[in-house]
Amino acid sequence: MIGRPSTSRAAAAFSAGRVGAMVLRYVYILRGSWPRIVELAYWPLMQVVLWGFISKFLATNSSWVAQGAGVLIGAALLWDVLFRGQLGFSISFLEEMWSRNLANLFISPLRPYEFVAALTLMSLIRTLIGVVPAAFLAILFYGYSVFDLGLPLVAFFFLLMMMGWAVGLVITALIMRFGLGAEGLAWIAIFALAPLSGVFYPVAILPDWLQVVSWALPSAYVFEGMRAVIFDGTLRVDHLVRALALDIVYIAAAGAYFLHTFHVARRKGLLMGIGE
């Protein structure tokens, strides 16, 4: 019969089809709104333009920057990977809040973790749309290619994306729990981690007690690792391993928090906008 779904497929514990359906939903939004695509690329491009000029200036006034060509542009681009990774995750969730569509999704066979998988994929797509043009702009304008970092770049990229997903999961859970009043977190929360991540300076510059906090962040290992590649030409595998371990711990904890909050939302009637 046309239309009636396969019962076994609908009851399957994980369905790539349902994840694909959600990704398609977000692709439809992007496809139907060119300002949204422009917005994705706008800030990374502006970051590169700004840090490109700062780098040019400092190259003649700072031996540190002069020794590591592109260290600031590379840092700006990688920071944007982290920021876009988190934002891309949270914004896709906000789309459902803005359109009051959450209840429709969760009376369907869509599982919360399939929803999270779709948000993760969309975060990846949105980040690539935002950061790749900026990386090419850096080559064109400043002759600096972040791709010269080689294979470590792939590791840095995914380690930062994973951290972005962990932060995105927590923010998304908070928005689900406290409603659109918590929307601002999606835009600003990650910046609290910027000073601690050693994006543009070594972690050693921080006070001792802050360094302890800093080394609990995967991003600190990534940016130190990036500088090791640029200044010394060495790949700090120990940094990568620690960042990966921390990412796994944070994603597991954030995922558990998201699922707990989903349960709370079902108990309090938050998915349908009724109740408390």
């Binding site: 709104s33 009051r100 969760f106």
Partner: protein
């Protein structure tokens, strides 16, 4: 030993009767207990059974607990107490066995306004694992007169058109149990009448169960075989529309409703 003489077919074992579409027992839900205020009982120990193929209505004044009840029936809201069984499955433990076989349309939820009608239906068809998606969308577009609207962004539709789109979404998976919250609230009388006729035909064709909350008494009287009237979280009266009218001595369901919510109905 064979119980049946050779050459004779054994008498066919009667198929077990299918489980009721919905069984609710002693369902309770409270909201908002704080230090200053006690909890508000939104649903207070209701029980009922709806057979397959029935059209049932939950009536009640605003805040009576209708939407809360529907939210619990579809698994969006966790009950404080009691049990819900839909299509034979316990919703507290096995709701994912059922969610692909039911659906809901409610004015309290919306579909993404930036997506076209067709895109919205396509996304939900995939979520429900519908086969031959484009044929199903065409079919619904024809039945609900959505054809000229398919390529329009949902946000540009009138409220009546949006109601029809929401209904199309609720029917995309040919649900065995269809939950409707105010299904014809924003429709003009002509369209509302067509939708009622369509829903009755759908129920008959698919042997589907329809469970609705409505404030339109004429609609309920026309469509429903079972009516439950809620007040302050409890079911005050239930029965067929005729039974309720006869029990209360009223001339129509609207009078029955008013008598009950205003506390005038004889117990």
């Amino acid at each position: 030993m064979d119980d049946h003489p050779e050459g004779e077919d054994p008498a066919p074992t009667p198929a077990p009767a299918p489980a009721p579409a919905i069984t609710v027992h002693d369902l309770t839900k409270s909201f908002g207990a704080t230090k200053s205020f006690g909890a508000v009982k939104a649903v207070d120990g209701i029980s009922f059974t709806i057979a397959r193929g029935e059209t049932a209505a939950l009536l009640g004044a605003n805040g009576a607990g209708k939407t809360t009840t529907i939210a619990m029936l579809v698994g969006l809201l966790i009950a404080d107490g009691g049990t819900i069984t839909v299509l034979g499955e316990d919703m507290a433990r096995h709701r994912y066995r059922v969610l692909g076989r039911i659906n809901l349309s409610s004015p309290y939820i919306d579909l993404p306004r930036r997506l076209t009608v067709e895109e919205n239906l396509a996304v939900f068809a995939r979520l429900y694992g519908v086969e031959n998606i484009s044929r199903r969308i065409e079919e619904l577009a024809e039945e609900l007169e959505l054809g000229p609207l398919l390529r329009r962004p949902s946000g540009t539709l009138s409220s009546g058109q949006r109601s029809r789109m929401a209904l199309a979404k609720a029917l995309i998976n040919r649900p065995e149990v269809l939950f409707l919250d105010e299904p014809t609230a924003s429709l003009d009388p002509d369209t509302a009448d067509r939708i009622r006729t369509y829903l009755a035909a759908y129920r008959a064709r698919e042997n589907a169960t329809i469970f609705m909350a409505s404030h339109n008494m004429a609609e309920v009287e026309r469509m429903c075989t079972t009516v439950m009237i809620m007040k302050a979280g409890r079911i005050e009266r239930s029965g067929t529309p005729r039974q309720l009218i006869a029990q209360t001595g009223c001339s129509n369901l609207e009078e029955v409703f008013l008598d009950i919510v205003r506390g005038r109905a004889a117990q």
